[in-house]
């Protein structure tokens, strides 16, 4: 029953684990105590907004978390079972010191977890999450006295959120959109909002299904066959699929082609932004076509390290117009700083409403380059050293080297990124180039360099 809490549930951007194995109501109670202690002492704050996704274990974990937070004297606004965006939007409106959302995002249903954001929509940085981890592992909490116990206020997260979208989006055309919620948390917001903004919706897996029995909650291409065929049957203008909690949307164009986050980002950058001056943020993994397509339009492209936390933080600081994470998180700060997936299809609909051309045409305006991803085994104790040495060596050897997150080497006709995995004994190599031949050449060259460095470090030990 009382097994020690594994350090491994605390990851860079969130806490995750298998329900009843790595995480439990007892552990979430402690995480609540730690989050409350952190908000009270480190942030000098007094309230946390909390909600949970549709997973069957989310309410149990959320209640345990609330019991912990309130025991430290920090108040709770409880949104209940919602999509990610509903709780984030509501927490923002309530000026929460911290917003907590119980979810394991796109992971299978037996998983769960929790992630934190600040009230303004900026993601909770890794070092602060580790401070909460340390409080949990050290059992270092301060229970308050009876007259200072935190109070819980249930709040409705659905109404204000829906009203926000109906005030922001109005369409002249009746667009037909296939909507695939995968039975997950977006069933709680997307179908109703799509209908109320005037879209003609073709529902795919839009009934709540907490065990994700119809399709896995990760919207990768191989899980979207039902969506794609529903689109063809109904001659849809486009389609959208969401992940488990609703922080990632995958767009499918009118021909059934599944778009990458970069492709979607380029279309939004080209046709969907109100201003043509300002910053667009991409991470070091994003395709070079983002810069090629959007910089000539007048935007300044800023490259940052991987992680949606950095994306939100950077977007806030630079007052960015758009942020693209190659993993699928998109932010459009004219609406929210946080990565609510619902704004993505609505923005696409807005573009199609204004431009009388099919989405596929807009996508095809930008070239799509071949990419390659490789994983090299490398022991945990040397992987960061290997990257450090590569940074030094490659900086001397090449002109355009970016070392903010791993090492990225840019050439006119392509680029290579070498990063150590935070969680596994692996070094990842990502490359993109104009042609397959160049891609092969580039990736092979740098694979070799990396292998050599790993070997060198190994022998040095």
């Amino acid at each position: 029953m009382k097994q020690p809490i594994s350090k491994l549930i605390f990851r860079a951007y969130d806490i995750r684990g298998l329900y009843n194995k790595d995480i439990s109501p007892e552990i979430f109670y402690k995480i609540g105590l730690a989050a409350g202690t952190y908000v009270k002492h480190t942030m000098q704050g007094k309230q946390i907004s909390v909600g949970g996704d549709i997973r069957q274990s989310s309410q149990s974990l959320a209640h345990a978390f609330i019991a912990g937070v309130t025991a430290t004297g920090v108040h709770i606004h409880h949104t209940g079972t919602t999509s990610f965006g509903q709780t984030l939007f509501t927490g923002g409106k309530l000026k929460a010191d911290l917003i907590a959302f119980v979810t394991a995002s796109h992971l299978p249903p037996e998983w769960n977890g929790i992630k934190f954001y600040y009230g303004d929509g900026v993601g909770f940085p890794e070092e602060n999450l580790m401070a909460i981890r340390d409080l949990v592992l050290r059992d270092s909490f301060e229970l308050t006295s009876w007259d200072h116990i935190g109070q819980v206020t249930p709040v409705d997260a659905k109404k204000g959120y829906k009203e926000f979208f109906t005030s922001q989006f109005k369409f002249k055309k009746k667009l037909t959109v296939a909507l695939d919620c995968g039975g997950a948390s977006m069933t709680l917001s997307a179908p109703e909002i799509f209908t109320s903004v005037g879209l003609h919706m073709i529902p795919v897996y839009c009934d709540p299904d907490p065990s994700f029995s119809k399709r896995p909650s990760d919207p990768k291409p191989k899980n979207l066959t039902t969506l794609v065929s529903a689109m063809k049957d109904n001659a849809c203008d486009f389609g959208v699929a969401f992940d488990g909690d609703g922080d990632r949307a995958v767009i499918v164009d009118n021909t059934g082609q599944i778009l990458s986050a970069d492709q979607t980002g380029i279309v939004i950058g080209r046709y969907g932004l109100k201003k043509n001056k300002g910053t667009i943020i991409v991470n070091v993994e994003c395709s070079k076509s983002v810069k090629e397509q959007l910089e000539p339009l007048g935007y300044q492209i800023k490259q940052i390290q991987v992680g949606h936390t950095f994306l939100t933080l950077e977007a806030k600081q630079t007052k960015a117009l758009l942020g693209i994470e190659s993993s699928g998180h998109l932010i459009i700060p004219e609406y929210f700083l946080f990565d609510d997936a619902l704004v993505v299809p609505l923005k696409i609909a807005q573009i199609l409403d204004n431009i009388k051309r099919p989405l596929h045409d807009l996508v095809m305006e930008s070239p799509s380059y071949p990419t390659r991803k490789e994983e090299l085994e490398c022991a945990d104790d040397i992987k960061f050293d290997v990257i450090e040495r590569l940074k030094q060596d490659l900086s001397k050897e090449f002109e355009q080297v970016n070392t903010m997150d791993g090492v990225r080497i840019d050439f006119k006709e392509g680029w290579v990124l070498i990063r150590a995995s935070n969680t596994s004994p692996i070094i990842r190599l990502t490359a993109e180039a104009d042609t397959t031949a160049i891609l092969q050449d580039l990736s092979t060259r740098f694979m070799k360099k990396t292998q050599e460095m790993i070997q060198q470090k190994k022998t040095a030990l």
Binding site: Q59, A67, A71, S145, I149, G150
Partner: protein, 466 residues
């Protein structure tokens, strides 16, 4: 974090109680939910549990913790919000839930809180069930559900409406409305604030409200409706020339009345007044009350050809005996009245509505009706006695008094109750302190004092010999 649970029993006479974030904390509540959930799951595939709270500041914390526990063992939780204890109990019965949980420390000071449970009929848990849950709690062998079988949580805000409707359907609303009684109502900032004002308005009363805002700091008065806490109520009744006043405890299962002159009416008297009225209507029948209740109750019930069954102290025990004996009425001398046609638990709203019906029927002031109840002198005191000597002392007392000419009857229901020609004495060993609680009742005050002194001396001499 320290856990202070060292005792082998968690449940007291009225649930689990303790000081918040000390012995009554979220860890206990969470594990109590898991223990209780494990117990329910043994016989019910998918138990449905209703949960409610009184107005205390720590309610939501403990509610969240115990809810997490129930959910994690695969029980569905239906949260009915801030409600009086009898409202939750009625809801459990009427909506056919499998269990009821109320977060309350009744009349205790605000730093306390507690957990009280009901069975599927809304009655408080029996000792056997409590012990079974405790056993699971201490073993920590909880039957935790897999990820896909965790319980669902929902809220339901219909409990108060359902309850008020239930109360109204059991009294003569038309006659009560005609009276247009003026009632001064003191809810003590407790859970009764959610029900009593509304109920009185529906019964056509003019209401003067005191402390009718739920507030967990209890700013108006202490929660226990004893005379020293109801001075403002008494004053207000005479000042406003009201028909009567009523004071509730923290979770509104008990009601204490003040007559139209602003005089406090002891719980024995109001119990007897209602008992008299009900046995008149039922032409006798069985009534139930603990051994501590004044003889005036038995007097009025007997006048109506009814009978009294005496029980140990504790409202769940009274309710249980009532159920078994198909009693027509029962209750305690602390304002806890039980109306079996409505439900088998203490119920202040039902007591209040019934008192209004009595006034509407009798058409006389409350003080007059109370004056007709026989009067006895009751004296309460305590005698120090080490716990380990208690049993022996009681046995020796029985031997000593068996052949005493003054003693007409000996009752061992709860401690030792000795009946005399015009009165009785009751010695109850306290469960928590090294004392005997001594109750003496007689016709005259000096008699009561004499008896009390006699037994005090006797116990002390027995102790010296022991």
């Amino acid at each position: 974090m320290k856990e202070y649970i060292a005792m082998t029993r968690l449940f007291g006479t009225n649930g689990i109680r303790g000081v918040v974030n000390q012995d009554m904390n979220s860890t206990l509540a969470l594990e109590m939910g898991q223990a209780w959930g494990t117990y329910l799951k043994k016989t019910i595939p998918r138990p449905k549990c209703a949960i409610g709270t009184d107005a205390r500041l720590s309610n939501q914390m403990l509610k969240s913790a115990i809810t997490a526990g129930f959910l994690s063992t695969g029980c569905d939780v239906i949260d009915v919000g801030l409600v009086p204890t009898p409202t939750l109990q009625y809801t459990v019965k009427e909506k056919q839930f499998d269990a009821g949980i109320i977060i309350t420390a009744s009349h205790n000071p605000p730093q306390f809180n507690g957990i009280k449970g009901t069975a599927d009929d809304g009655t408080e848990l029996t000792k056997n069930v409590e012990e079974a849950i405790e056993q699971i709690y201490f073993s920590k062998l909880f039957a935790l559900s897999d990820w896909n079988d965790v319980g669902s949580y929902s809220t339901w805000d219909g409990a108060i409406e359902l309850y008020i409707k239930g109360v109204l359907s059991r009294v003569d609303v038309t006659s009560i409305k005609k009276q247009q009684s003026h009632v001064v109502l003191d809810c003590g900032n407790g859970a009764g604030s959610l029900v009593a004002p509304l109920l009185l308005k529906k019964l056509g009363c003019v209401v003067t409200e005191l402390n009718c805002e739920p507030d967990g700091t209890f700013p108006g008065r202490h929660s226990e409706p004893v005379p020293e806490n109801l001075t403002l109520l008494m004053k207000k009744v005479s000042e406003t020339h009201a028909s009567f006043g009523v004071g509730l405890d923290g979770d509104a299962d008990r009601a204490i009345f003040v007559d139209e002159n602003g005089s406090y009416i002891w719980g024995d008297k109001s119990l007897s007044l209602v008992g008299k009225y009900i046995t008149q209507k039922t032409k006798g029948g069985i009534t139930v009350t603990p051994v501590t209740t004044s003889t005036c109750f038995e007097d009025v019930v007997r006048q109506n050809k009814g009978s009294v069954v005496y029980t140990k102290v504790g409202s769940p025990i009274v309710a249980g005996v009532m159920k078994k004996n198909h009693a027509v009425f029962g209750g305690e001398e602390n304002g806890g009245l039980i109306f079996p046609k409505f439900q088998f638990c203490r119920d202040s709203a039902m007591a209040l509505a019934t008192l209004l019906e009595i006034l509407a029927t009798e058409k006389r002031p409350l003080s007059e009706l109370i004056a007709e109840i026989p009067s006895y002198e009751m004296l309460k005191t305590k005698i120090a006695c080490p716990n380990e000597k208690k049993e022996r002392i009681v046995n020796q007392l029985v031997e000593e008094m068996k052949n005493h000419q003054e003693i007409t009857d000996i009752d061992r229901t709860d401690g030792l109750k000795l009946y005399m020609k015009d009165g009785w004495v009751l010695m109850r060993p306290s469960g928590t302190e090294p004392i005997f609680r001594v109750y003496v009742e007689a016709k005259e005050k000096h008699q009561a004092e004499r008896v009390a002194l006699f037994y005090k001396n006797l116990v002390e001499s027995l102790m010296q010999r022991a």
